[in-house]
Subunit: 341 residues, 4 copies
């Protein structure tokens, strides 16, 4: 069986497992107060060119999004997101559980346009009833988006400026950030993100770690008592060094970028093969997720041979499916998949 | 100045003020445990042909919606509503404050279609990821809608059946219910509503009372401990009889219906006059709210002479405005308004 | 039947009913944006010697407490209160519903001591684990307390200074404030309260109004967007002028103080009579609530003749009960009660 | 340096690391839907003699407590706990964040007495105002308690019966359950717990796993849609098999019990040694946590040689400290510690 249904189907890069084994019986203080977490944070600050950043390590994406949103918003504020944003759809109401509304705007290629955000903010404050409504208190982006697409540095800058004009923070969900940083032609780097965003996270779960997301607050004074909010959200790992050691490994010798590049290279090989075979892509993604419009009959013939993600019905006879490569995908698996199709 | 901007601009019907004055110095037990509240509840049960209904009196609409929604939903559930529904737009996030998502569907003439609700529910449970998503746990309607339109008894029945098929409750927000019951040609009566809805409220604030909404739970076993939830929401009035006496008056000699009919008659006179003068209505409303497409220049000439609600921009030169009549509108004011236009 | 069980058993002072009748058919803008609310707010600012205060009118005490607490606290913070405080016991979890813990300290005569608050704060920050705990983010007082007792100006000043030292706000629940201001020997005035508290409310429901509480924020910049938070809590009255007109009347010709004095005078007459008859008071209250230790046999003989509040079991044969006078108590009723005892 | 400050200072038992390495590159479906999680759940069901139990794997204790409490309670209900209970003190308000009050009772040796719980429930429903108060909706225990003490089977049965009489669930927090099960003389086994509790969790983080807690719901119908609530709380691990494989190892060949016994044996050796040296224990704990009253001068001489937990001030010259052994403690470390003291 070939597995292309997601990028979180395998454990961790070998170097991470090795590091975990090495330190397994060394006693460490809890809750991320250990030296390895400090080292990992230092490396991330350096990679982001953000020397004053606060770096916190959380276990998963939904808890990270909920904790950051609750930390940034006042009770009467909501978070602006694309209607396909993870916080809007696939977090089982974690944002609402924290008391906040997700204010959605139509996505374009999975992205939120700065112009649309600005228009929303203008319209909101022009509405005579806006004090009876949920105020847009921050903007949420995912990069890469849920459709595998990427913002440009210029687009991020425009979003940043829009947020600045309205004095609201910009937050970037980087669950798959490694695959975005490694895409061909992107001009979005960690320092660009750190310069544009008030908070962002660097995803480990989908990019080589067993689990873990590194939250970066470039200006550490931006959020007070984040530690206690992480605890309140049940997102504080007792053995915090388990997170630290993974990010320390990922940010040693640019492993994070290399793992991203591996997956993207294979995704591009897959994409090229699909196009050569005449398949139609639902969207033009430069990252590790490829969305293909498949005939339903064709799909049925793949059963038992390959796993993939079912995205949405295209029409009566076609379905959009997702093939995801990852840091762990073997090149021969891509070849085998193309041979099947 | 003529006032047509809303239906909550004046105090209460004279008979209500009189009753309040009569009982002003009679000592009563608090929190709605008094005999007047019992009398009012009995009259409402009779009017609804719902002998086993629980009837509670709350102060305002937003707190009523929030309390009912929080009482009906489990934490992971959301409320399905039209995207123009009051809970979706104009309650400052009261539903989200209680931890629940408002799941919106496109409105049609302000209404939620049973077929659209059924499709949403079908699609939701067909989605392989639905356990990662907010489950649709109830349906919210407003009747009349925010656009002044009405459901038919057949439509309510279809919505009821759809909800029954999915074992979720149907809730009707009757902030302006009196104006709906009095509309020409409607076949929706209080007993029809009581038969179709798991919970609904009869609005007093906009229909002749100083304030107050009567929540009806036709099967009183449907919600346990509603009293404590009302208290927890800060919606329990210490001097509960102030609410009871108002609803007792409104449900004596069909005053509620008469007040509704008064406003609707004047709204129809206004509508007829508008059409005769060649104005275009944005929507065909049989109730007390009339939405008119007006030239911006024309509107400016009304300044200082009449107040109205600004609804939305129609195009560069036109705006949709709302004229609302109420139980308190004087016939000559409608004539004066028509003379102005 | 004599009624002494609470101070919210009757309607409103005659002048309030008269004002409501006068304006009943005058069209007004909603949500407290009218001229009467402005007038009432001006009078309250003057009475408090707080020219920059924001004044908002809400309907009831629990919703006021919940809204203010939620507006003042960050998500990880709790509110320090006496263990007998209304927010701790009798609000059905309204504070927790908003996500906040009530951190309780033992009451002394119903009061919170500044020294105990300071000790709590010191101990909290000295605890190595305090970042895993709910941070004390504000202090809640009631004045008069739930036991009818009063703070002195010196005590309020000490509490204020303690709060200032720890940069947390002080909030005073004045549900029965009128009865506190009118007590013999008190040096706590509205300007003293405004000088010591970051937020407080002046209770109307129990002191001559039909309903209503006036929230005062002496430095209006202390809370941004309070209006929207009031709306989100379902605490925004559509016909806001109903609240404004009541407080305008209460703060005209010092009616509020006079109503308080009336009740306190009668309470002192009752207290004197009780002591002369040899009854033991459970606490020495200078305000309208008197707590008496009664033999259970004696109590049974009162059944059907007088209503009172049952406070707590004193021992097997005795019960602490409460007699409350109010702005509406008739002098002859106190005499009749004393004759019965 | 000797480390006795907690039981979560080291990684995982070697067999767990080995299993993680073995499966590291095997593709698995996410969110706990894999075969290893099923195997682990089967083993836990067998160990608990609870064939119909639902078993879910979460990452940490605070998130587990919050998710279970939110799943069991209605909005107006709170959780009864000892005032030293973890949910009451050290979870940064996670229970309140979910909208619920922690109702505390005085602990006795860290335990909640069934008689005290029953008295609370009786008093609550006897209080005429109880509908204005937070209803006790469940009981929370920790076993071992935060003081290392244990319930007996008879005590658990009494608590169970008390809860049954009031139709509220009993929940047991087993963060250190392995150390309780291994204590000398205990008659509390997993089947006893499964018979008495509506929900409980078996702690992995502190007993040999890298992280992880196994929630057991003996009657799986007790909580519907627990999966979605776990997701909503941000407690659903993408790579769920990381949890499954750890519990599968812990419940193979009784490893969980053996690890518990190892720590308890060393704790008893330490306790015996402390007593022989004349130290006074603050509490008589049969588990891995030992609380010792130490002279402050003596403590200072330990600096730099041993880490321990500071519990509380005993008096001006003495402090209560905690020494915790764990599955990972080396026998010679205990000897070295005793040699130091």
């Amino acid at each position: 069986m070939l597995h292309f249904d997601s990028d979180y189907m395998e454990g961790a890069h070998a170097s991470i497992l090795a590091r975990l084994a090495e330190i397994n019986r060394i006693a460490m203080p809890g809750y991320g107060t250990d030296a390895i977490c400090r080292s990992a944070a230092d490396k991330i600050r350096a990679a982001c060119a953000a020397p004053n950043a606060a770096v916190s390590f959380l276990v998963g994406g939904t808890q990270t999004n909920a904790t950051v949103v609750d930390a940034l918003l006042r009770p009467y504020e909501g978070v602006l997101a694309a209607d396909t944003g993870h916080v809007a759809v696939h977090e089982a109401g974690a944002i609402e559980f924290g008391g906040h509304k997700v204010l959605t705007l139509p996505q374009e290629n999975g992205k939120l346009r700065a112009a649309a955000v600005r228009q929303y903010l203008e319209d909101f404050y022009a509405d005579a009833n806006h004090e009876h409504m949920v105020a847009p208190g921050m903007v949420y982006l995912s990069h890469p988006t849920e459709y595998g697409t990427l913002y440009t540095a210029a687009e991020l800058t425009q979003l940043h400026e829009t947020c600045q004009d309205y004095h609201i923070p910009l937050y970037l969900d980087g669950a798959r950030l490694g695959y975005g940083l490694a895409a061909a032609g992107t001009d979005v780097t960690l320092p660009v993100i750190a310069a544009c965003c008030d908070v962002f996270y660097i995803g480990g779960t989908k990019v080589g770690a067993l689990f873990g997301e590194a939250v970066v607050i470039p200006d550490r004074a931006r959020i007070a008592h984040f530690f206690t909010m992480v605890k309140q959200h049940g997102a504080l790992l007792a053995k915090g060094w388990l997170l630290g050691v993974q990010f320390d490994a990922l940010f040693t010798d640019a492993l994070y970028t290399k793992l991203g590049a591996h997956a993207v290279t294979l995704a591009m090989r897959l994409k090229q093969g699909l196009l050569e075979k005449g398949y139609r892509l639902a969207i033009d993604s430069p990252t590790n997720q490829q969305f293909v419009v498949m005939e339903n009959d064709r799909l049925r013939r793949l059963d038992g041979q390959v796993t993939y993600g079912v995205w949405e019905k295209a029409d009566e006879n076609h379905t959009v499916i997702r093939f995801a490569t990852s840091w762990a995908t073997e090149p021969h698996a891509v070849d085998a998949l193309l041979a099947l199709l």
